[in-house]
Symmetry: C2
Subunit: 269 residues, 2 copies
């Protein structure tokens, strides 16, 4: 790439209102587009989640489990179209802020097998970056060689793109400050973990699995485990609260913000 | 494919109001989605043009001529986003009519060289068809190995898809009845040509080129020449007025409507 590539994930919980189906957080989208414009970081790839757009329709038609019956074709169509609607809002906001960004529809060029990426040509993404354009991808419904179709999460996409394109860092913009010892939304004793190595993550995971089945970190552990293959290749992952104004701007500019840094090296910056 | 594949082009002049920039013909889109639903033809691929959505921004930034300066990145982004807006209206209308349709963004998987398609993986399109889903593509801005980027017309896309996937027929839905001896919108003596072979087309082309530089047929000749490689492979091309209610429905169902049929065989049905 020449310059250091950043892959930015905008969490579905940040850009939509999770409790209200098909409701975007238009203010957050506008603010984040402004922060991305001000930071002016290139090369940059943006991946966003589905939040309250993707999940309701996907769940209704059981898209993730794969193709079972012809009536699901309509569900595949509707789930994709819900993501298109959300993605269009993100792109409209970026373009309004004069960020040259172009969507690269994941389902148009990525195929999975049993839910894992099997083929992903990166020619288009690389050429866009060379032209100074920011590619924007999103968690999507995709075709799957075993299941017929399934869901490809934005998190898997982030990790795969980071590895395939040799990214320098991954920034995960979520709606809490980082990885906690428990779910900070329900447990007041939850403590933020500022720094984590893959070794520490593994022991944390074992401790959690010994105690209970559900993910006490409020779903964060699953997201982070998805990033581990990238972290093991030396890519730094920074988890930051993008719901708080200016946090994303600051982390894009390389400044320190409260959050969780996950990296393989023991040398903490 | 097993069954006979139809590739349907919805002209930009049918689904937008050409004289008004960024204005969709919402009524036409709704009506055509209804006709496609009623005809219930599978396998079907839909390709639509840009009309007053794609052309103004593309012209403003001279996208077709290729990458010349960094400021065009914004133009590439905006032109694509204009097509996304139009495409979303088409898909929303199809989904409202319970047609399981999914967009396959051309620029996400097609690369051109000097404006001609250089690579186009059809795995996604074929798998969608197998699942009973109608892929929808459109004329788009695309990355080009010589020019940096350019415009890929819906007509070139139709012809390439037809050849690559072995289509049975191409239906071109436009805003006049077919190919005329002159532009029917300005010349009252213009006569509709109901049937044409490639040989007849070539002599017509020569006659036109002898007389004057501009395309007297009102731009139709260029569109038809783009289809000739497909016609030469035995694919029938039917040009029909999709602005007239029920024409598209009837032609999808294999019925005769006024129009122009172009086919290589001398045996006229």
């Amino acid at each position: 790439m020449g310059q250091e590539l950043t892959i930015l994930k905008l969490g579905g919980s940040v850009i939509t209102i999770k409790a209200q189906p098909y409701t975007a957080n238009s203010e957050a989208i506008k603010r984040l587009a402004g922060e991305i414009h001000r930071a002016n970081i290139k090369p940059l790839i943006i991946v966003h989640g589905g939040g309250s757009y993707g999940h309701p329709t996907a769940a209704k038609y059981r898209i993730k489990e794969g193709y079972k019956e012809p009536s699901q074709a309509m569900g595949f169509s509707e789930t994709h179209q819900a993501m298109v609607a959300l993605n269009k809002m993100v792109l409209d906001a970026l373009i309004r802020e004069e960020v040259p960004a172009v969507t690269v529809q994941p389902s148009a060029f990525i195929l999975t097998d049993k839910g894992r990426i099997r083929s992903m040509e990166t020619d288009v993404i690389l050429t866009l970056l060379e032209l100074g354009i920011t590619p924007v991808l999103y968690g999507d419904v995709v075709l799957d060689s075993t299941l017929g179709f399934t869901i490809l999460s934005g998190d898997q996409l982030v990790s795969s793109l980071a590895i395939k394109l040799g990214a320098d860092r991954i920034i995960m913009g979520i709606d809490v400050d980082g990885l906690y010892t428990a779910d900070p939304k329900v447990d007041p004793s939850a403590r933020l973990i500022p720094h984590l190595t893959p070794q520490e993550l593994r022991s944390l995971q074992q401790k959690i699995e010994e105690v209970q089945v559900t993910d006490v970190t409020g779903g964060m552990l699953g997201k982070i485990l998805e990033l581990m293959p990238a972290v093991m290749q030396g890519i730094k992952a920074i988890i930051v609260n993008a719901s708080k104004p200016n946090n994303l701007y600051r982390v894009l500019k390389g400044r320190k913000v409260p959050g969780t840094i996950i990296e393989a090296s023991e040398n903490v910056a």
